[in-house]
């Protein structure tokens, strides 16, 4: 197994010795792996504690704002995880399934609706899965609660009336020539403006590529195993050998391909949708959003530049996602570290949106309406 000094005849067995040595050498590594696990656990504990403190601070901020006469607004939006239950489904639907399955996580993640205070236009809220107050300040949601079919976004707002003014979203695999569905306008007037910017998005393409087996050659080596009074009395010799580092076969690969896309901004100047809140109220409102792959629009007077098109907007379809007070109240706020908000939600009212639109019927994620110039 081992040989005193250089006994080449023992080469055949020396690998076993190396294995034994390796096992010995591994011992500290196993210990350090255990320490690493312990460290990770401590890190996880710290992270959980940070998250608890963070949530408690938001809970306190919401309660303090309510006490100071602000309104707490909770907006229902379609539950993202209900639509895309797994990470894989999100990736798969990020952009490239947009024309195949009628879903696009890129649109659902990035769509933003801006509701502006009618008296003080500098006050607004941005309803979006992505825009929290940490990212954009008080216009963003302070926390998102995940329900079964709806997510609930909580905001602190000044009392008053808020009107829907802007909706923006990306539209993958689209160009000016291949865009929204269009309907005939009922009237000649407009309810706002449609601005589209021809840009590019990256589409993740999952493929499998065949890779040959990969090997690495480990050079021969000799290592002292037993030192005695400064003299190596036993050494281990390892001959040159080849080790496989990868088996031949198909391996997953992600390629990012640029695809044409539109950056869509809809500015509403007409009175399409609004809601009001009073001082100290806890108000739940329904979400209101277009479903771009099925959205019907009526436009006119388009001006088209190299990469931008601006049109008068005459009609647009919007879907109302109804919120549920029961679902909201049944949420375990204490477990989520929002006990103060849980108490406030007990007094929440479901405030219907004031809609200047025609009901078209139920669709998968709510009830569809058409707002149009008359």
């Amino acid at each position: 197994m081992t040989r005193p000094f250089r006994n080449r005849a023992a080469r055949g067995l020396s690998l076993l010795a190396v294995t034994a040595l390796a096992a010995f050498a591994m011992a500290p590594q196993i210990a350090s792996a255990a320490q690493e696990r312990e460290k990770l656990t401590r890190e996880e504990r710290k992270e959980r504690e940070r998250e608890r403190k963070y949530r408690s601070s938001i809970d306190q901020a919401l309660a303090t704002a309510h006490k100071d006469g602000k309104a707490i607004l909770i907006v229902a939006v379609p539950a993202f995880k209900h639509k895309y239950p797994t990470e894989a489904l999100i990736d798969e639907n990020l952009a490239d399934e947009v024309t195949d399955t009628g879903t696009s996580a890129a649109i659902d993640l990035s769509m933003a609706s801006e509701w502006v205070h009618t008296q003080y236009p500098e006050l607004m809220i941005a309803v979006s899965q992505n825009l929290n107050s940490g990212a954009i300040g008080p216009a963003g949601f302070f926390y998102r609660f995940e329900g079964r079919r709806r997510d609930y976004l909580a905001y602190i707002v000044e009392p008053g009336t808020y009107a829907l003014r802007t909706i923006s979203y990306p539209r993958p695999r689209s160009s000016f020539a291949n865009r929204h569905g269009t309907v005939a306008a009922r009237g000649a007037g407009s309810i706002g403006q449609l601005r589209q910017v021809a840009s590019t998005m990256l589409e993740a393409e999952q493929t499998e590529v065949f890779l040959n087996a990969a090997t690495t050659t480990v050079a021969a080596s000799e290592q002292c195993n037993w030192w005695y009074k400064g003299v190596c009395t036993q050494s281990v010799y390892t001959p040159e050998h080849t080790r496989q580092t990868r088996a031949a076969g198909f391996y997953p690969r992600t390629d990012y391909l640029p695809i044409p896309a539109l950056d869509v901004s809809i500015r509403l100047t007409g009175d399409v949708a609004s809601f009001s809140t009073g001082a100290g109220e806890i108000v739940l409102i329904d979400g209101l959003f277009p479903e771009p792959l099925e959205t019907q629009l009526a436009v006119s007077n388009c001006r088209t530049g190299e990469s931008m098109q601006v049109c008068a907007l005459q009609a647009i379809d919007l879907t109302r996602a109804a919120g549920s007070l029961d679902e909201l109240r049944n949420y375990d706020f204490v477990a989520a570290h929002f006990p103060l908000l849980g108490q406030l939600v007990g007094a929440a009212q479901h405030r219907p949106l004031s809609l200047n639109a025609t009901a078209l019927g139920q669709v998968t994620y709510g009830e569809r309406f058409r707002a149009e110039a008359r």
Binding site: A112, E114, V116, Y120, P121, E122, L123, M124, A126, L131, G134, A135, I136, G137, A139, E158, R165, T166, S168, P170, Q193, R195, V197, S199, T200, M201, L202, Y256, P258, A261, D263, S265, R267, R303, T304, G305, E306, S307, M308, Q309, V310
Partner: protein, 193 residues
């Protein structure tokens, strides 16, 4: 109107230089913070959405005007003590993060015109580092103001070529009522001249 505005105004932008010199950074950061501060709730703006905080009476503060289009911000900073050139800026949630001022190659896009590829400087807009802006140096600020449109639609596209960045939309916004705000800005500049 903007088509005319861009023809000349962005002609100025096409002559963009790099970021302001290092010694001017603090002043520029101060000006940007002033630009980003929304008007106080309840104050009557010169035009809805526009904010011209200095009428010229504050001699230490730069003359500037800004327009809030929802989460987007656009504005002009006039030449002032410390730098001779003016700046046009855009900011919004799609402007990517930058931990320090960096040069950026972008295309300015409007309706009815060809895109113009120019150099901009990406800069943190606020002290907290949550908002970022593109600064476009205007070599002839007065000309840029002369041709500024009362209504504008503007977008910025990424023009750096790379695996993960090419022609993405970095900003898309619009303003109305720009001329009334411009008059106020000119009044500020005249008062400080």
């Amino acid at each position: 109107m903007l088509r005319k505005g861009l023809a000349a105004g962005l002609g100025s932008l096409a002559l963009l230089a790099a970021a302001p010199a290092q010694s001017q950074d603090a002043q520029m950061a101060k000006a940007l913070r002033a630009l980003a501060v929304p008007p106080k709730v309840g104050t009557t703006p010169v035009q809805p959405g526009w904010n011209v905080p200095n009428d010229g009476s504050n001699r230490d503060a730069p003359c500037l005007m800004s327009y809030r289009d929802g989460l987007n911000l656009m504005g002009y900073i006039a030449p002032t003590k410390g730098w001779a050139k003016g700046y046009f800026i855009v900011s919004g949630p799609s402007v990517p993060y930058a931990d320090r001022p960096t040069d950026h190659r972008v295309a300015l896009v409007t309706d009815g015109t060809s895109n113009q590829t120019v150099k901009a400087v990406r800069w943190p807009l606020d002290r907290k580092g949550k908002q970022f802006a593109f600064l476009f140096e205007l070599t002839d600020f007065n000309t840029a103001l002369d041709v500024m449109s009362d209504e504008e639609n503007l977008a910025v596209l990424e023009m750096r070529e790379g695996q993960f960045n090419f022609r993405q939309s970095l900003f898309s916004g619009s303003w109305t009522g720009g001329h009334a705000a411009r008059d106020k800005l000119r009044a500020c500049m005249a008062a400080k001249a």
